[in-house]
Symmetry: C2
Subunit: 270 residues, 2 copies
Amino acid sequence: MDFREKLSNIVHENDSLVCVGLDIDEEKTPTFLFNTSKDPFFDFNKSIIDATKDIVCAYKLNMAFYEVLGSKGFELLDKTIKHIPRNVVVILDGKRNDIGNTAKKYAQSLFEKFNADAVTVNPYLGKDGVAPFLEYKDKCSFILCRTSNPSAVDFQDLKTQGKPLYKIVAEKIKDWDKIGCCGAVVGATYPDELKTIRSILGDNIPLLIPGIGKQGGDVEKTVKYGTNSKHEMALINSSREIIFAGDKEDFAEKSREKAFSLQKEINKYR
Amino acid sequence: MDFREKLSNIVHENDSLVCVGLDIDEEKTPTFLFNTSKDPFFDFNKSIIDATKDIVCAYKLNMAFYEVLGSKGFELLDKTIKHIPRNVVVILDGKRNDIGNTAKKYAQSLFEKFNADAVTVNPYLGKDGVAPFLEYKDKCSFILCRTSNPSAVDFQDLKTQGKPLYKIVAEKIKDWDKIGCCGAVVGATYPDELKTIRSILGDNIPLLIPGIGKQGGDVEKTVKYGTNSKHEMALINSSREIIFAGDKEDFAEKSREKAFSLQKEINKYR
């Protein structure tokens, strides 16, 4: 089963475009877990997954939050991914990038060692830095196109050949998708750019969309501009607002409530 | 002691601009080590470091080659860095990049957890993705400017405001260096671009230059165009040609011979 099929199946099964970001953070983790659990971060992730797995389409794990824990973080990453039901999409968000023979090692690490369904890749090095990821035909590589942060404008908006760089990147993504499954990362904080990018990419390329919630992205516009003509092929990510919704024993229920409310809000506009 | 002082000290002490890339690779590691050593990759790195530490200015560890080994790879990374003498510069080459609060975790991981002197950072996300690295005032962030691979042209050469993108990135690096120590990554495979970038960056910004050896970069041009007016502030990297110079018991001696010969060749042009 290839990535698009897996994504489409879970979107229908759970009726959801919600992607939950499992971005663990010691300072925000319910403190009682450090007293009651021998493996607090894993128990935290496990509880969030168990509480939300029937109302999401994907989990995204940003590798920075695991890498900062050193080798234990990588064990935690591995254990967490193994706990996610196999019908739900797993995205390893590492924004990796390197020249060909080295990019190959990253692809091997993320797709084989950690068994991710999808990864995020930074396009600055061009096609031969992306190609080793695209060799994994059943997986998907979400290429950074227009990021959600304020400084995204520094380079991504620079006009070249009469259009901003992010449009050129979008056109390349469309092209690279012929080699292997490509997606695009586009911030919800820039709805006009989201609309433009969806129109360049057409119906078949999935968008990973961070930036709603604390970063300020609007859900209605995100759904309207980010999904394809069937109101699918968009993964709308929320991390902190969902996973740190509560800090007491009922934190997982609170996270479910937040995820459920986001699921309903998104579906209202589909 | 800040980064530039540390770099300058070791360049004088060892009379060398050679940076050795400790890019471990199971397929290329001398096979006898897997029979004689309980910790073959560490013993490999240890032998290379012991054999070359007085004729190099830096070691660069590309994180892809460690990450692919999972959590053990991160233990190996840590052990290897601890074995490098503290007067030699340690560069963690991860090309990391993310939005502000997440980039902060990467900076914490690389500078605090692994105690690197310098890191490599991808600029596609703009200033706020780079700033968390620059908060470490005694460290250095080498920003990807013009990479050594053939597809570097895909985006880095696109003309914007009448000049190629890599020049705009170089100008930003010069600007960001006011916030915290910046360097630039420029491939030896593009000598004209190297010359242009050095002229934009002036005398004080170090260049990390991969791409000589197998990738085809010319040593004379690299030295001439990459160093500053004092023939310093350039770290000329070689990985595979040095560390995999031999595959028998004398592999470390062979690697020293290669490093020594590169040191001499570079110094001939300084």
